[in-house]
Amino acid sequence: MVMSEGAAPPYLLRELEEPGKSRKGQTSSRPAGSRWGRRILTAFACLVYLYLFLPLINIIVFTFNDPAGRYNISWDGFTINNWLDPFKDKELTDAFIRSLQVAVLSISIALIMGSLVAIALARYRFTGSRSIEIFLVLPLTTPEIVLGASLYQLFLGRNVVLGFSTVVIAHVMFCVSFVALTVKARVRGFDWTLEDAAMDLGASPWRSFRKITFPLILPGIMAAALLSFALSLDDYIVTDFTKGEFTTFPIQVNNAFRVSFPPQVNVLATIVLIMSVLLLVLTSVRGEKGASR
């Protein structure tokens, strides 16, 4: 673009430095472009969505399959029996319950610790906050195999028996970072003088936290909870290294795959999917309501 410093419209320069901030609430998100270009893009977008949902459709469709052998991989016939008896495979169901237990315990611990970290980072200015932020990101940028292997070495060296507690420890570890960053992102830019105002009006610090701060960070906590729940349930690699003889749902599916792949796997996975989508819808609706208040 041929422009000299003086000739450039001031809003353009401001935009290039800080996109979106020059006109609050008046940003435009429709670029100038050709109609055919837009149509091709829309077609491509639909294809990508199809690609994203293909395995999902496969999983759900195959919950209705009546497999001829022990592997639910080829379509053999329609049945709803799998849905009538989702807990038929005892080992699988037990592993599934264990996965849920690990997830619930892990996210409970991680939510508390992570939110405290987020509040500390968002609310206070102190030396070392930058380094703490970088330190928080490190576990997320480390390959899971390194996380798992190093924990394995830690527990082995201390003669700790690998099992439920070591898996929970590992899950809390990677969830804390996610929770801290998610809650911090949701909470950035809030006007904290509201808390000071409440206390000037006579509220105790605890009361002002309960009535002012907590409702404000709640949407962030709920989003972090949902995310951590999914991460914990699905986790394979880190769990593989910290489990010992203990099995979670994905571990059990993998172990049994040598011999069988029952349709109940798909059924349980679909149940989790439906629960997660419902939670996602609930939290985003709740979030919208909270924001508009």
Partner: protein, 293 residues
Amino acid sequence: MAADTDSDDRGLRKGKWAPYGLLSPGILWLVLFFLVPVLILVRTALSSKASRFANPEFSWQFSNFSSAFTDYGPQFFRSFLFAGIATVSAILIGYPLAYWIATQGGRWKNLLIGLVVVPFFTSYLIRTIAWTSILKDDGVVINMIHAIPFVPQDFRLLATPAGVVGGLTYNFLSFMILPIYVSLEKIDFRLTEAAADLYSTPWQAFRKVVLPLSMPGVFAGSLLVFIPAAGDYLNNRYLGSPKTSMIGTVVQNKFLVQFDYPVAAALSLVLMAIITTMVLIYSKFLGTEGLAV
């Protein structure tokens, strides 16, 4: 009357001990279960083991590291090649979708982005197994490919490098789409109108205005795809074969099956070091500092 009136105009407090107190549980957990284990891994990498069941002895065994390169060069190369192709594919597939949602989404943006996330509420392992069903040799997809002229009849996707790369691309796709979307969302597209006023074509406007502004998102997305993909072993286990084994496969095997801790630890650290180096080079190349998404 307020508890601590040392605050600036956004209410941010210059805390003394309060932020450190809030941070300590979470940070302590990460130090104990992330930092310390990695250091232990370093120690193990420099140890040697007399036999399969003996304990490792620390002995400055640098040969563990050199054997990492000599014995497992192909797996390292393959892991980075696969992860690299997966990352580029994810950008090619994900960027247009993110762009479409950000620019054409309108009122439905949150729903559309939510749809991107929904498939990832099924278990990682089960999604991968679903691909074995979709891409199986006598399945719909392969039959359709065979119908194309000039395609050899023994063409298959399972147990091939293409299968592994396809799995890697799919499994981390939403980690690419989300950061790019967030980046694009912040852009004020009146900039492209301004560019059009200055006689640029839509494509030039995209290339010179939108693309550079969306780079932080592309950068973050690339990290979130490349790093886990490089250390993965599940995609190779289900969609690949022993001939396409990746470094993750080797590390998992050496730790949990062969108990060859020193070499396994060395391999994990080399993997981490190479990834960190590549991330640093990539960030210099893109000129972005920090993942301020």
